[in-house]
Structure formats: structure tokens, C-alpha cells
Symmetry: C2
Subunit: 374 residues, 2 copies
């Protein structure tokens, strides 16, 4: 994509990424899973939270897990010498040599990937660590239990260092099938007698299923300070800190009369005369268009002490702007700084008002939003 120079003066929106929060959240994973090694999951540009910041803040991880071999290459170029796991393995067999050169560990989830590894000429030279993926009930990637053992034996015979892996469909929920217990039972039976380290737990399992951790845990969303359930109250006491703080400014003020409407479709009707602030942030920045009236935005006070108050969104979010009700913030003016999410407004709260989860919002922050590493 065309990528304009970053150095020029710009719209006031900015995403600040706090490496200290990364460090803190990784330590929380260590406290919750002290026996396990940690794959820090940083696919999708670290869930939108910036690779550069992730390799600083998560430097003490045991390994990074991601999707694209290009990202693995980037990590090596930027000095990461530890382990790297390709979470969906290889997409083509012509990636085998590069993956070996980069020293990647591989997930293997389907028959054709087994064949590639069996036929790989370089296997004797430096065999991969393989995380063989079992479909124990999620029905996304992996071998059914009935075919899992054969795949395991074939790769083991070919000389690869084997690990067992599965993924939970409902570690963030209760009363939903298949449960973690169901999947653990299927998994345990299928690997019975096949000695190898295991990798099981995502963030939700780390937080709520301490009996389903395995030897390598795979935290993702909790490293970013958001909730696996999408509900912030579920992690309120888990002592996780928001890594991304998304800020912008008020760029215009409108004085509305009673009965005036705001924005496209005129969704919000002013119940009385009121001041409205127009903020430089819209859905083309990654803010959800379907955020309802009442979605919280933090408006800082003039003085720079972090104090402020919540002013709710009024009217439909536009492509580049959104409107907030300033009736409780009489001092807010053009240039006043607001937090869209971060320290004062959990990203999960914005997500809940928009019918989605914090994961999606973090990943969706647009390339046009400048990133500052703190």
C-alpha cells in the first residue's frame, strides 16, 4: 500500500504502546503458570500493538508464536534469537528451507503438511520442533483423534522433535459445548503413551483452567491487557494493564438546539440545547462504526494530571470523526485531548457497546494511526 511519510505533522490521533504494560502482563502469565514455558502470541502485528514494542516489552518470553514466516524473518532481523512458532505451520512446501534457516518451530495440522515434512530433504540436517495439532472438538485446524496417532508416529519416525498441541473452543465460557473438560479428556486419551511436551492453554485457560495449562502456554489477548471474554469485568481483578492507549483531540464544537440531530442518519436527537465535541477519530481509524450512543470516551481536563471524565458518544461514528456529548465538560474545547480506549476506558467496554470484543478493535487500528512506543 502507499505509505506516506510518517514524519509530517498530522491529525491528532495517536496510539501509544506501553512496553511496561507488556512486561507487567507477561509477569502475570508467569505467576499464573509458573511451571510452563510461554509462547507469547504476537500474530497480526501483535494484535495491532506493534511488533517493535512487543519484542522490547516481551523480551523475557520463552518464544514468540505468529503466523507469517515473513514476521519470523522480521524477528530474526531485529535480534530475536529465541524460539519462534509458526502457529499454522507452512502454507507451501517451498517455505521449508527458509523456516529451517530461521530456526522456526512448526505447527502441523493437516495431512499435506505431514507429507511435506516426510519428503523434506533437509530434515536430517536440523529437524524441526513439531507441534502436532489435534482437533479435540473445536473443528477448526488439526487431526481428529482417530488419525492423530498415525501422524505422530510418521513424523516421529522421520526424526522430528514432537510436541502435542490442541486448542480450546470455550475456555472463556461455561455451559458451552465442547467444554475444556471434554476436550482434555479426548486429548489425553489420544496421546496416551506418546511421550512429548504439550501445548494447550490460551489466555482464557491460563486465567480460568489451571488444570489445562500444559508445558507450553500460549497467551495472546491477556498480554495486551484485554479480556478473552470481551467483558472487562471478567479480568478486573486479574491485574492486567492496557498496552495500547488510543488518544485524539476535539477538532470542532457544535452548539445544538433542542431537536437538532447529529451526523449520518440523524441517529441522535438533542433532548435540549447542548454542546457537542467532534473528535478526530472514525471507523477508518479502526474505531467501530456501530458503537452505540453512550459508548464512553474519556475527556481529559485542561490540566495535564490525567484527570477527566467520561463523555458519551452521540450519533453514528463517521469515517474520520465521532461526536461526544459535552454537557458535563463545559471546559472542553478545540484541542482538548480525549482517550478512546486505554487506561480510563477499557477497550473491552468500547467493544461491548459495539457488539464485538477487544481483540477485534486492537487488531483493527488502522495503518494511518501513528504509533508511539512508550
Amino acid at each position: 500500500m502507499g505509505s506516506p511519510a510518517d514524519s509530517l505533522i498530522n491529525r491528532p490521533i495517536v496510539a501509544s504502546i506501553y512496553t511496561d504494560a507488556f512486561r507487567h502482563n507477561l509477569n502475570r502469565v508467569r505467576e499464573l503458570a509458573p511451571e510452563a514455558k510461554i509462547w507469547s502470541v504476537i500474530k497480526a502485528r501483535a494484535y495491532g500493538n506493534c511488533f517493535d514494542a512487543a519484542i522490547i516489552g516481551l523480551a523475557s518470553t520463552d518464544g514468540f508464536a505468529l503466523l507469517d514466516i515473513a514476521d519470523a524473518s522480521w524477528l530474526r532481523e531485529h535480534g530475536w534469537n529465541g524460539r519462534i512458532l509458526l502457529l499454522e505451520g507452512l502454507f507451501h512446501d517451498n517455505e521449508l528451507k527458509l523456516a529451517q534457516e530461521l530456526g522456526c518451530d512448526l505447527v502441523v495440522h493437516c495431512e499435506v503438511q505431514v507429507q511435506w515434512l516426510e519428503q523434506f530433504e533437509g530434515k536430517a540436517h536440523k529437524p524441526f520442533n513439531v507441534f502436532l495439532k489435534m482437533n479435540s472438538g473445536m473443528n477448526r485446524l488439526g487431526f481428529k483423534p482417530s488419525s492423530y496417532r498415525t501422524a505422530f508416529h510418521r513424523l516421529h519416525s522421520a526424526g522430528y522433535h514432537m510436541h502435542h498441541m490442541t486448542h480450546f473452543a470455550n475456555a472463556d465460557q461455561v455451559d458451552q459445548q465442547p467444554s475444556v473438560g471434554n476436550q482434555m479428556e479426548i486429548f489425553s486419551q489420544a496421546i496416551d503413551g506418546l511421550e512429548a511436551p504439550t501445548s494447550l492453554a490460551n489466555s482464557a485457560a491460563i486465567l480460568w483452567h489451571r488444570n489445562a495449562l500444559g508445558d507450553w502456554v500460549r497467551p495472546g489477548i491477556m498480554l495486551y491487557g484485554a479480556s478473552p471474554t470481551g467483558n472487562f469485568s471478567d479480568i478486573k481483578n486479574a491485574k492486567l494493564n492496557a498496552v495500547m492507549h488510543l488518544h485524539s483531540e476535539i477538532i470542532d464544537i457544535q452548539e445544538l438546539a433542542k431537536g437538532d440531530r447529529i451526523g449520518y442518519g440523524g441517529r441522535y436527537l438533542a433532548p435540549e440545547a447542548m454542546r457537542v465535541g467532534i473528535v478526530a477519530c472514525g471507523y477508518a481509524d479502526g474505531y467501530p462504526r456501530h458503537a452505540k450512543d453512550g459508548t464512553p470516551v474519556w475527556v481529559f481536563n485542561a490540566r495535564d494530571d490525567g484527570s477527566g471524565l467520561v463523555c458519551p458518544i452521540v450519533g453514528r461514528v463517521s469515517m474520520d470523526m465521532l461526536a461526544i456529548d459535552l454537557r458535563k465538560a463545559p471546559n472542553a474545547a478545540i484541542g482538548t485531548v480525549v482517550e478512546l480506549w486505554g487506561e480510563n476506558v477499557p477497550v473491552d467496554d468500547v467493544a461491548q457497546m459495539s457488539g464485538t470484543i477487544g481483540y477485534e478493535l486492537l487488531c483493527a487500528v488502522a495503518p494511518r494511526v501513528p504509533v508511539v512506543i512508550k
Copy 2:
């Protein structure tokens, strides 16, 4: 953000951008507004459709309209010598000199921007073209009619080349207040006697309000081949072509038994034994997480003639994957190519199944998705 090398082998997802479709859609704007000059709106990386492709496909436009002065700079560096409009004007007065050097036209929507221009020392040297924005009922940016004339006179006295501008809240709807008619009446009264060119119509007004075009039209979404209403049937006969075709591949197949569930939360329950394809595309690519079961995905036949059929989404979209029902596509296999949106599946249809509009989906295509210009 960390940006890994693009040149490596990668996940199979790719966004193809068709410059011919840009050309065709721009010609449609000319046919619909033959008297008007055209600001092609390319903010947000051309609504996610790639600047590089836009300046090729839209080369015959009268001007480009965008937000960030950095993007204006990029256009000049890449050889665009025509007009450029900064749609929200300047965000700080220290951008004045650069904007002048780049030869930008400026929107002026608030009092402080008027003051910057009055005080600008370089104004005599090369006065800006100013598009003075009136808030005629949308209540987002701009001067209320009561203060508009004063702002106009002040900037006119300061030597700037004046234009009138407003924006419609409901050009894509009927029976919603304020109507285009309401806004036109307010606008016309407020500019009465102030001779200057006008800029009024967005895509919706170009398509459906030929009496509200003005001297400079501002097409956005229609240039990309999507509907201003979010409903594809509304533009089915408007002869617009999809600029972006989003493709990926099936990377795994699951054989489900009756009663099996798919993915997180187990939303989809298999009503019978069925094959499911796992596609390398998820919400971290920009595909909407909240796409309902039944959202169409086009599955190409093995032969490369463009033929294929719709296979619906089953289960919740994950971060990197989604699942489709292959019961009607017995030949689909790992490696089969699918279209998420484009020629066979309008982006608006995906948006409608996800409670949003095509604009948001196009803008949200993630940086990790490689772009190919066709």
C-alpha cells in the same frame, strides 16, 4: 509499526486492486455529473484500496480530496500535479507553510482556522483556495448559517479564493431528517449574494440527488464500487465495478459428524455429517468477526474460468480463520481459492450480514494482507 518484508512467501490471502474498475467508476461519476468538477475522495488509503492504485486508476480526476497533509505530500512525490483538497483543513497552524508549498486547497470549518489564515504571513504570496464549510444540519463540522457569512467575508477580505461547501447527512435515505431538501434550503439562503463556486454532493447525492450536485462533486464510496447505503441492491443498476477483490484459500478441511460444533463458542451445530473448509482469513485481516452464519463466500471451481458457487460461513469468524460449509462443493480441497468479496460477492453483502457497511470493511483490510495492483 513493525513492517516485515513483503517479498517473502506468505499466507494465501491477497487483496487485488483493479485500476480499470477505478477508471470505469470515475467515468460513471462524469456521466452522472457532467457539468461538475470531481474531487475523488481517497482518504484512509483510498478507503483501504491503495493509494498507488488510486493515482493510476483515477488519474483523470480534477482533484484528490483527503485528510492528512502527509498524504498530500505523498501524492506530490508520486507525480500528482493537480489539485488536492484537505477535507478537514489544517490541524495546527504550523502546517500552513507546508500546505502552501504543496499547493493544497483547504477546508475551513471552525473559527480558529479562520484566525490562522487571517494571521498567515504568506497569504499575499500565494493565497489558498478555501472551501468554507457550512453546518447546514449535519452538526458535525462547519459554521452555523448565522456565523457563516462573517467567516466568508473575513477570509475573502484576507485575499483567499473562496468556495462554499456543505455535507449532507441523509443523501442515502428518505424520510430522515434533515433531508437534502432541508439542507439545500438552509445552504442556499446562507450563501445568497456571496458569489463563489460550490461543493455539495457526496456519492449518495451524485447517484440520487441530481439537483444537489454543485460545482465540485465529492465521490467517495462509489469510486470503489460499493453502495453509500450499505445495500448492494441500491447500486445494482448504477454500473459500478468492485475495485477490490479479496481472495484466500482453504487451508484445512474438517469432516464433521451430526451434532459437532465449530469454532469459538460452538455457534454452529452440524445438522448432519458435513465437510467444512477452513479459510485463511479472519478478523485480524479485516473480515468482520460478527459475520453471521450464512454470510456468502465464493468458492471457485478447480478449473480457472472464474466459475464457482457460494458456500456460506458456519461458526464464528476467528482472528485468522473462518469456516465454510462445503456440502455443495464436493471438489473443494486444501488449496482451493475463495473470494471473500469482489466480483462474485459484493462487499456490501458481507457488510449487511455483519451489521455494517462496505465502507467500514474496505477501510479495515489489515496491513498484513498483501496488495496486488492489477
